[in-house]
C-alpha cells in the first residue's frame, strides 16, 4: 500500500511540476495585477519545488502528462529545474517590476513561468521532437523576458535580438538533427533510437551532431555562447537569472539524454559523439576560463564561468560511463547553485555590474554578498561546497577512464577560478565600501541567496542524496544498455 501510495505521489508530483507553471503563466497573462499574480505564482512555485524534491527520491519510471515520462535522468534534473525555477519566480516579485516597469511586470512573470514550463517539459522529454518543442518554447519565452529589460537599459533589445538569432538558429539545427535521426532510426523516441543498432549511417551521425551543437548553444557552451555575454550584461536581470540557473540546466539535461542514447549504441556513432562532445567540452572549458579571467563585469563573468562549467559537464558526458554521467549531474546541480548565487547576488545591483561595484558589497549587503562568496568558492571547488564534490567526481571519472588530459583541464579550470573567483572574494570583503551606498536587502531575492548558500554548503557537508540521484541517472546508461 505504501509503495503504491508513493508511486501515486510521484505521478502527482510530475503533474504538479508541469501544470503549476502553466497555470501560473496563464493567470499572469489573464490578470494584470502584478502583486496578485505574483502571490499566486509563489504558491504554485512552492508546490512545484516540493513536487520536484519528491520526484528526486527513488528511481524507476513514472508517467507524466502530455505523454512525458519521468525516469532517473528526469528524477535527477527535476529538483534542479524545479527549485531553481521556483526561486526565480520568488525573485520576480521585485525584479519583474524593477526590470520591466510596473505595467509589464505581470507579462514578465507570465513569460518567466512559460519558459519554466518549457524547461521542465524538456527535462522530462524522452523524445527528440518533444525535447525540441519544449526547449524552443522555453527559449522563445526567455527571449521575450530578456527584451522586457528595455525599460531599464536600451541595450537590452539588441541583446535579446542576438539571443533570438542564436537560439533560433540552434532551434533550426536541432529540428533538422531530430528529423535526420528519426529518419535513420525510424523513431523519435530516444530509447528506441539508442537500441536501433542496425540503423546507423551518416544521416544519423549528422543528426546527432546538429542536436548536440544546438544543445551546446542553449547551454551557453563556448564558442557558441556569443549571445550570452551581452544578454547577461545588459538584458533584464530576471531573464539572465532564469536562463543561467534553469534554462542551462534543462539544455544540459537534454544533452545528457542525447549523449546517453549515442553512448548506449556502442558503435562508431557513440565514439564519434564522444569525441565531438569531448572536443567541444575542452574548447568550452578553455575559452570560458580564459574569458572569465579577463572579465570586468560580474554578470558577464557568470556567463563565461558557466561556459567553462558547461565544458566540464560535456567532457563528463563524453566519457560514456555511468560515473561520468553521475559526475555530469553533480556538476549541473553545482552550476545551477553557482548561477543562483552569483546572479542572485548581482541582482541587488541596479544597472550594469562592473566588478568595482562589488567593493565592500559583502558588508553592504551581507546575505547577497555571502551568496556571491559561496558561489565563488563553489567555482574554485573549495571543500565543503558542492563545487568540490562535483569537481572531485569529474576528475575521478576522468582518471578511471584514462582521460588524463580531461583531469588536467579540469584542474586548470580550477586554477583559473582561483584567480577570477578569488578576485570576487577580495572585492567583497577586502576593499573599502563606498560610504554613500546604503545597506540593501530585498526580501524577494532572499530565497535565491539562501538556497544558493544553504544548498551549496549542505551538499558540501553531505552530498550523498545528490550523489544517489546522480548515480541513478548514471546507472540508466548501464540499465538500458543491457
Amino acid at each position: 500500500v505504501i509503495a503504491v501510495s508513493l508511486e501515486d505521489l510521484r505521478e502527482a508530483s510530475a503533474a504538479i511540476m508541469l501544470v503549476g507553471p502553466l497555470v501560473g503563466a496563464l493567470t499572469a497573462f489573464a490578470l494584470g495585477s502584478h502583486r496578485a499574480v505574483w502571490s499566486l505564482a509563489c504558491v504554485l512555485a512552492f508546490a512545484v519545488a516540493l513536487a520536484s524534491l519528491q520526484l528526486a527520491t527513488g528511481g524507476g519510471f513514472v508517467s507524466a502528462p502530455l505523454g512525458l515520462q519521468v525516469d532517473s535522468i528526469s528524477g535527477a534534473a527535476a529538483p534542479i529545474v524545479g527549485v531553481a525555477g521556483a526561486v526565480c519566480v520568488f525573485a520576480a516579485g521585485w525584479l519583474a517590476p524593477s526590470d520591466s516597469g510596473r505595467r509589464t511586470a505581470s507579462v514578465a512573470l507570465a513569460l518567466l513561468q512559460l519558459a519554466w514550463f518549457g524547461w521542465i517539459g524538456a527535462a522530462f522529454s524522452n523524445d527528440v521532437f518533444s525535447l525540441f518543442a519544449f526547449l524552443e518554447l522555453g527559449w522563445l519565452s526567455a527571449c521575450g523576458l530578456a527584451a522586457l529589460g528595455l525599460e531599464r537599459d536600451r541595450a537590452a533589445a539588441p541583446a535579446a535580438f542576438r539571443q533570438l538569432v542564436w537560439c533560433g538558429a540552434a532551434g533550426v539545427a536541432f529540428a533538422c538533427g531530430a528529423a535526420l535521426v528519426q529518419h535513420a532510426a525510424g523513431s523519435s523516441d530516444l530509447a528506441e533510437i539508442a537500441n536501433a543498432r542496425g540503423a546507423r549511417d551518416r544521416a544519423s551521425a549528422a543528426g546527432f551532431a546538429l542536436m548536440i551543437a544546438a544543445l551546446a548553444t542553449w547551454a551557453l557552451a563556448a564558442p557558441l555562447h556569443a549571445w550570452g555575454g551581452a544578454l547577461f550584461g545588459r538584458a533584464a536581470r530576471l531573464a539572465s537569472l532564469a536562463i543561467a540557473s534553469v534554462g542551462v540546466a534543462a539544455a544540459l539535461t537534454g544533452l545528457a539524454r542525447i549523449s546517453l542514447a549515442a553512448a548506449i549504441s556502442e558503435t562508431s556513432l557513440s565514439r564519434g559523439v564522444s569525441v565531438g562532445l569531448a572536443a567541444l567540452g575542452a574548447l568550452s572549458l578553455a575559452i570560458g576560463s580564459l574569458q572569465a579571467v579577463g572579465a570586468r563585469d560580474l554578470r558577464r563573468l557568470v556567463c563565461y564561468a558557466g561556459a567553462a562549467q558547461a565544458g566540464a559537464i560535456m567532457i563528463a558526458l563524453a566519457l560514456g560511463e555511468p560515473a561520468g554521467h553521475a559526475a555530469a549531474f553533480m556538476n549541473i546541480a553545482s552550476q545551477t547553485l553557482i548561477a543562483l548565487g552569483l546572479l542572485g547576488g548581482a541582482a541587488m545591483l541596479e544597472g550594469r555590474a562592473p566588478l568595482v561595484v562589488l567593493d565592500g558589497f559583502g558588508r553592504r549587503a551581507p546575505v547577497a554578498g555571502a551568496a556571491i562568496a559561496v558561489a565563488a568558492l563553489g567555482l574554485i571547488g573549495a571543500p565543503l561546497t558542492l563545487g568540490f564534490w562535483s569537481r572531485w567526481r569529474l576528475i575521478e571519472a576522468a582518471l578511471a577512464s584514462g582521460w588524463w588530459w580531461a583531469a588536467a583541464m579540469s584542474i586548470g579550470a580550477s586554477l583559473a577560478a582561483v584567480f577570477y573567483a578569488g578576485r570576487l572574494l577580495e572585492r567583497l570583503y577586502a576593499r573599502a565600501e563606498e560610504s554613500t551606498t546604503p545597506r540593501t536587502w530585498r526580501a524577494s531575492l532572499a530565497p535565491a541567496h539562501i538556497v544558493a548558500i544553504v544548498a551549496a554548503i549542505a551538499f558540501g557537508f553531505n552530498a550523498q542524496p545528490l550523489w544517489r540521484a546522480a548515480g541513478l541517472a548514471g546507472e540508466l546508461l548501464a540499465g538500458i544498455g543491457r
Binding site: 571547488g381 580550477s414 582561483v418 577580495e426 557537508f461
Partner: protein, 511 residues
C-alpha cells in the same frame, strides 16, 4: 575524561575561542580573558592526549560522511598529537601576549584579529588530528582561507598584494597539485584513511609513486618549500600576532605536519618506490636550508628575516620526511617542536620591540637589550635554538638529519669501496646525493648563525640607546611575561629530547 572527549575538547577549544572573540567583542577584558582561558584549555587537552596515544588509543571520531566512501574524521596518532600539543601550548602564551600587544599599539580591530588567529589555530589542529586525506585536505584549505584575513589585517595596497600572492600560491598549489594527488590516490582504489603501513603501499608503480610524492610535497605549499615559498616572505606585512600564527602556531606547522603524515601514513613503505623524487626533494630542501638562511642575512626588516628563517626551518622538516627512515622522522618531528617554540619566542620578542621602541629594522636594534633585557634574553635563547647550537633542542634535529644522511650514504659500503668497483655507479650517485644533503644541512647552521647571532649579540652588548625606559623591559608584564615564558620553554625543551624519542619509539618499531 576519555580519549574521544579529550580529542573533541582539543578541537572545540579553538572553535570556542573564535566564537567568543566575535560574540564577546566588548568589554575587551572579558574577550581577552575568555580567549586566554580557552587557549589554555587548547594547550592542556592535547598534552593529556599524549598519554592516551602512548597507551595506544586511536579514538576515531567521525563527524560527517559527505560521500559513501569518505568521512570527515579525526583520530589520534603521534605526529598529529605532538603538533596539536605544540600549537596548543604556544597558543596559550601567544593569546596572552596578543591581548597585551593589541592594547599597547591601540589595535583598531582586536576582535577580528583574535577570531582569525583562533580559526587558523582550529584548522591547524584539525589538520594535525585528521584521520584521513580527505579531512586533511578540507581543513588545509580551510586553514588557508581562515588565515587570509590575518595577512591583510593591516589594510592598504601592500596587504592586499600580499594576500593576493598568499591566496594564489597556497590555493593554487592546493588545487593544482594536492587535489589531483588525493583524487589520484583515491582513484588507485585506496581508502583515504591514514594507515601505519601506508595507504599506497603495494598499490603503486614506481613512476606513480614518484609523481604522487612530488604532487603531495609541492601541494602542501604551507610547508613553504621553494619555489612555492614567496607567500611567507610577502606575508611579512601582517601584524606581529598574525605572524605568530602564520609561522609558529598554525599555517607552517600544519603544512609540516601534513607533509609528515603523508610520507608516514600515505606512502609508508611506498617511499622506497618514490626514491628518485625523494632524493630530489631532499636536495631541494637541504639547499633551501642554506639559501633561505643566506636570503635572511640580506633582509634588514626583522619580519622579512624571520620569514626566511622559517622557510629554512620548515625545509629541515621536509628533509627529514624525505629521508624516510626512523632517525630522520624523529628529527623532523623534533624540528617541528623546536622551531615552533624558538620562532614564536623570536616573533613575540620582536613584537615587544615594535610596541615599545617602534623599531623593526635590524640596524636600529643595537643596544636595545640593555633596555629590554627579558625580551632580548628570549631572543638570544630562540636564536641559539634555531641556529642549532647544542645543547638546545634545535641542535638535535640537525644532528640527526646529518647522521641519517650519512647512514644512508654509507649503507652499502664506505668511501673506499666506491673506488674499487664493488659498488654500482647508481648507488654511488645516490650516496653522494645523501652526503650532499647532509653537508648542506651542516652549512645551513653556519648561515643561520650569521643572520641571528650578531643581531642578538649587538642588541645585548651594543651601545645602549640614549633614552632608557624607567620600566624594566619597557613593556608591560603581560607582554614581557609570555616572551620570557616561551624563552624558558625553548630552553626547557632540552629535557624533552629523550622522552620524545621514547614516546615515538613504538611508531618506529612497527613492522
Amino acid at each position: 575524561l576519555n580519549a574521544e572527549t579529550l580529542l573533541l575538547v582539543t578541537l572545540a577549544a579553538p572553535a570556542a575561542r573564535a566564537i567568543a572573540a566575535i560574540a564577546v567583542a566588548r568589554p575587551s577584558w572579558l574577550r581577552d580573558s575568555l580567549n586566554i582561558a580557552l587557549a589554555t584549555v587548547q594547550g592542556v587537552a592535547p598534552l593529556m592526549l599524549l598519554k592516551e596515544v602512548a597507551r595506544g588509543e586511536v579514538a576515531p571520531i567521525v563527524l560527517a560522511a559527505p560521500m559513501p566512501d569518505m568521512t570527515f574524521a579525526f583520530a589520534l596518532e603521534p605526529v598529529g598529537v605532538i603538533t596539536a600539543s605544540v600549537c596548543g601550548l604556544l597558543s596559550a602564551a601567544h593569546s596572552l601576549h596578543t591581548a597585551a600587544y593589541m592594547r599597547a599599539i591601540h589595535e583598531p580591530a582586536p576582535a577580528r584579529l583574535q577570531t582569525f588567529i583562533a580559526l587558523s589555530s582550529l584548522m591547524a589542529t584539525g589538520v594535525a588530528l585528521s584521520a584521513n586525506l580527505f579531512t586533511l585536505f578540507v581543513l588545509h584549505q580551510a586553514l588557508i582561507l581562515a588565515s587570509v584575513p590575518l595577512v591583510m589585517h593591516a589594510g592598504g595596497e601592500a596587504s592586499r598584494r600580499a594576500a593576493r600572492t598568499y591566496i594564489s600560491v597556497l590555493l593554487g598549489a592546493a588545487f593544482g597539485l594536492l587535489f589531483p594527488a588525493i583524487v589520484w590516490t583515491h582513484a588507485l582504489g585506496a581508502d583515504l584513511t591514514f594507515r601505519a603501513d601506508g595507504i599506497l603501499s603495494g598499490r603503486v608503480q614506481p613512476w606513480v609513486a614518484n609523481v604522487l610524492l612530488m604532487l603531495f610535497v609541492f601541494g602542501y605549499a604551507t610547508a613553504a618549500l621553494p619555489p612555492l615559498h614567496r607567500w611567507l616572505a610577502e606575508a611579512s606585512v601582517a601584524p606581529f600576532p598574525a605572524l605568530g600564527a602564520l609561522h609558529a602556531l598554525a599555517v607552517v606547522p600544519a603544512g609540516c605536519a601534513a607533509l609528515l603524515k603523508t610520507t608516514l601514513y600515505v606512502f609508508g613503505p611506498a617511499m622506497a618506490q618514490a626514491g628518485l623524487a625523494a632524493r630530489a626533494l631532499l636536495l631541494l630542501a637541504a639547499a633551501t636550508m642554506c639559501m633561505a638562511a643566506l636570503n635572511a642575512l640580506a633582509k634588514q626588516d626583522i619580519r622579512e628575516r624571520l620569514a626566511y628563517s622559517t622557510i629554512a626551518q620548515a625545509a629541515a622538516v621536509t628533509a627529514g620526511a624525505m629521508l624516510a627512515m626512523p632517525a630522520a622522522t624523529y628529527a623532523a618531528i623534533l624540528q617541528i617542536v623546536a622551531y615552533c617554540f624558538a620562532t614564536l619566542a623570536l616573533i613575540i620578542a620582536f613584537a615587544n620591540v615594535r610596541a615599545v621602541a617602534e623599531r623593526t629594522q635590524i640596524a636600529d636594534m643595537q643596544g636595545l637589550g640593555r633596555q629590554m633585557p627579558w625580551t632580548f634574553s628570549a631572543v638570544a635563547i630562540g636564536a641559539v635554538s634555531i641556529i642549532g647550537l647544542p645543547p638546545l633542542a634545535g641542535a638535535w634535529p640537525k644532528l640527526w638529519l646529518m647522521e641519517a644522511s650519512a647512514e644512508l650514504a654509507f649503507a652499502r659500503g664506505d668511501v673506499f669501496s666506491w673506488f674499487n668497483g664493488a659498488v654500482a655507479l647508481s648507488t654511488i650517485a645516490n650516496s653522494l646525493s645523501w652526503l650532499a644533503a647532509g653537508a648542506l644541512a651542516a652549512l645551513s647552521t653556519i648561515a643561520t648563525f650569521a643572520y641571528l647571532a650578531p643581531l642578538a649579540a649587538k642588541a645585548l652588548v651594543g651601545e645602549p640607546p640614549p633614552h632608557m625606559s624607567a620600566r624594566p623591559d619597557g613593556a608591560s608584564i603581560f607582554m614581557a611575561g609570555p616572551v620570557a615564558l616561551t624563552g624558558v620553554a625553548t630552553l626547557a625543551l632540552i629535557l624533552l629530547v629523550d622522552p620524545l624519542y621514547d614516546f615515538l619509539l613504538p611508531m618506529f618499531s612497527q613492522p
